[in-house]
Symmetry: C2
Subunit: 106 residues, 2 copies
């Protein structure tokens, strides 16, 4: 028989995840990347209201945690593409249900 985890233990585990995902813009950035890779500027336009500084910061955070990958091209003007890793894409179900809730209740 398995030792079933109680709520407190589960919350502690989710806390480590929310340390990464819990930023004000994190979910929206990931959601924006679900339908494919995007450039920095595209993300800035997609995530309405975010500012450059926070976008840089969140992207770096998500890259550090292997949720997305950054690819830079030495073009003029510079081109940087961001796309989700498997780990990041695995949040699709969570996002889908969060969006469903939004439509149902907001």
């Amino acid at each position: 028989m398995e030792a079933k985890k109680n709520t407190v233990e589960k919350i502690c585990e989710m806390q480590t995840a929310l340390d990464i995902l819990g930023g004000k813009w994190t979910f929206l950035i990931i959601y924006a990347l679900l339908d494919g890779k995007k450039r920095f500027k595209e993300l800035e336009r997609a995530v309405t209201g975010i500012n450059t500084r926070m976008l840089v910061k969140e992207l770096k955070n998500l890259e550090d945690h292997q949720i997305l990958t950054r690819t830079a091209f030495a073009t003029v003007p510079p081109t940087v593409e961001y796309s989700l890793t498997d780990k990041g894409r695995d949040l699709e179900a969570t996002m889908k249900y969060l969006y469903k809730w939004t439509k149902d209740w907001m």
Copy 2:
């Protein structure tokens, strides 16, 4: 044929939801209440690391948005119970997948 919403529009919708749910502790509080109503002190113990001030604030925020209900009893010492509304309980699927992701990747 329906006018299919694009990503930007969906993000804007989700933004209103995340204004409510996006707090640092919000998801954890809701998760703690998924298995039934809890008293203030029980929540404080369940959500490890939170402090009184933030718990009060988040609970008020979630109550204002009809995600949970607050019931006070005029006992000594005072008793206050918090429990999810239908709106709040509808986040269960989102939470479940978020926890699954946590277990899979953290």
